[in-house]
């Protein structure tokens, strides 16, 4: 159907735009937030000069991300003399692509009815509605884990094909660490799957639109413990600072991407920053109700006490999209807060933390959830 094609092309464009923007902005946000946290000023030098004038647009250093990108594109693309140049060339893309693909199953809004949004096109769309998600798969959550696991291959390829001791050591660390934490992540989400009874991401989000007691029916209300474990495991999966053993600068120069330079190295960094946004989006979808706000439905807000705000379809769609982006941005900021607050683990502590602390806790959480579900539903 040509209508489906148009709508999904728009969705894909939106998703890629959002991810790239987040990736670019987070490089700046990370530096600026770290600076504000430690009584410094932070990146504020890059500027655009308006042509033919002396007006310099600094905008709090917002253009530093662009300056970084230009620098990486113009740098010498150094290549080590490796026997496996194909793996060497393809590794950054193997890291980068799955990170983008994960976003395909994450719903970034509610149900979209393009006919009501554009009344002049109502006839052409013929009453079709679309969930605001690139691919509504039955196996959505499983796909997240399938593609999330693929980044390990990229890291291992990069380390293995660099012909460098440090890169190889970093890749081995990355491999063992990511596999360990992937397991924990999967186990923490299992409890959630039991509660929702589905792995379809859009269903999961829809089920979180209601209320439980006085609280919104978000995953974090049912599974606060799993939410904490999931976030910790996801940060470990992203190999950022409390868990950045694969690239420990003091020991391994730069870990598995030691031998990469210019934009190939930039791809690794960019993938890391986009993964921050992806983790935030996943956490929002699973635990924070995705684009839902409390008391909000497809017709507008309905507060207790009979007070209602009716909203047009366009306003509802815009609110949902903005709410989702806002939650994601807040979580990104929280991850950066963690990265600039906590000291790094030792390597044995990282693995011990995964296998002896988080895995048993995740299992206990799962058992408790199973018992609770059994007691409630028989």
């Amino acid at each position: 159907m040509i209508q489906d094609l148009v709508v999904y092309a728009a969705f894909i464009g939106y998703a890629i735009g959002v991810l790239m923007t987040f990736g670019l902005l987070l490089t700046w946000v990370e530096r600026k937030q770290a600076a504000v946290m430690s009584d410094r000023i932070g990146a504020n030098r890059a500027y655009f000069r308006l042509p033919f004038t002396q007006v310099k647009l600094v905008w709090w250093g917002l253009f530093h991300g662009i300056a970084d990108g230009v620098k990486m594109l113009l740098k010498e693309d150094f290549r080590p003399r490796t026997y496996d140049w194909y793996a060497y060339m393809v590794a950054p893309w193997v890291v980068f692509t799955p990170v983008l693909l994960v976003f395909a199953v994450i719903p970034f809004g509610g149900m979209l009815d393009p006919g009501r949004l554009f009344p002049s096109l109502a006839e052409w769309f013929g009453g079709r509605t679309y969930p605001m998600q690139i691919a509504r798969l039955d196996a959505g959550l499983l796909m997240v884990f399938a593609f999330g696991g693929m980044t390990i291959i990229g890291a291992m390829l990069a380390g293995w094909s660099s012909s460098n001791k440090f890169a190889l050591l970093g890749a081995l660390r990355a491999g063992s660490q990511m596999i360990s934490y992937e397991l924990v992540m999967g186990l923490t989400v299992l409890g959630l799957i039991l509660i929702y009874g589905t792995v379809d991401m859009f269903d999961i989000v829809t089920q979180q639109s209601g209320r439980v007691g006085g609280l919104p029916a978000w995953g974090i209300v049912f599974q606060p413990f799993a939410a904490t474990l999931f976030l910790a495991a996801a940060i470990a999966e992203n190999k950022r600072i409390p868990f950045d053993l694969p690239e420990a600068e003091s020991e391994l120069i730069s870990g598995y991407f030691t031998e990469y330079s210019a934009m190939k190295m930039g791809l690794f960094m960019f993938a890391e920053f986009i993964e921050i946004a992806i983790i935030a989006a996943l956490f929002t979808t699973l635990f924070l109700g995705g684009p839902n706000l409390p008391y909000m439905s497809d017709a507008g807000f309905a507060f207790p006490g009979g007070y209602e705000i009716r909203m047009s379809h366009g306003a509802v769609v815009a609110t949902q999209v903005i709410v989702f982006l806002g939650k994601v941005a807040l979580l990104c900021s929280f991850q950066i807060l963690i990265r600039w607050s906590l000291p790094r683990f030792r390597y044995d502590q990282v693995l011990k933390f995964a296998w002896k602390f988080m895995l048993p806790l995740a299992l206990v959480n799962l058992v408790v959830t199973v018992v609770w579900m059994w007691a409630r539903h028989g």
Partner: protein
């Protein structure tokens, strides 16, 4: 041969952690609360138009509170008639570990007491290490260091030279710590 077994040394003030600290999660939350609190405080300052940082915007803004003994920009002292007190003996240039001082001597027939004077006295601040050895070495108290640093952030290292004219622009009368002319009647 006796088998060596490693025994970890116990110190009298060995750090101990309570179970609360060993549970780790609560201490993490405490740490995040501290850093997050600092972030909110500074962000609040920035958003209300105040400065939420201790740093100064260096090239645009210099701090006035250098220590009195700070070794900053070089200064050539003057005789009462305004000519440099330097006699171009080259001792500062010789002792300089970074070899940044260049002096060209000239002959002044009008002043029989000090016939030798520098026609050129230049310092390359791109290489100066601010060690103060030139001040120590000078037999005539002709070179001193002011506490202010030279205002020199520049994208081009060839711009970072100071010549005799700039080095002489300091008014030595204002330096109460070192009276001028120096006690003992060496000047004149």
């Amino acid at each position: 041969m006796k088998k060596y077994t490693y025994v970890r040394r116990r110190y009298w003030n060995e750090p101990t952690m309570s179970w609360w600290e060993r549970a780790y999660l609560f201490e993490i939350l405490r740490g995040l609360a501290i850093t997050g609190g600092v972030f909110m405080r500074n962000m609040g300052k920035w958003m209300t138009g105040r400065k939420g940082a201790l740093t100064s915007y260096y090239p645009e803004e210099t701090r006035p509170d250098y220590a009195a003994g700070n070794r900053g920009k070089h200064v050539l002292t003057q005789r009462p008639d305004g000519r440099p007190q330097c006699i171009a003996c080259n001792m500062c240039a010789t002792v300089c570990p970074a070899k940044v001082i260049e002096i060209e001597a000239a002959f002044d027939p009008d002043d029989p007491a000090h016939p030798k004077y520098p026609s050129r006295f230049e310092i390359d601040y791109s290489r100066c290490v601010f060690c103060g050895l030139c001040v120590e070495a000078c037999p005539e108290d002709a070179i001193r260091m002011a506490k202010e640093v030279p205002d020199f952030p520049s994208p081009d290292r060839t711009n970072m030279w100071l010549g005799k004219e700039e080095l002489l622009t300091w008014n030595p009368q204002r330096d109460v710590a070192k009276p001028y002319p120096p006690a003992g009647g060496a000047a004149g």
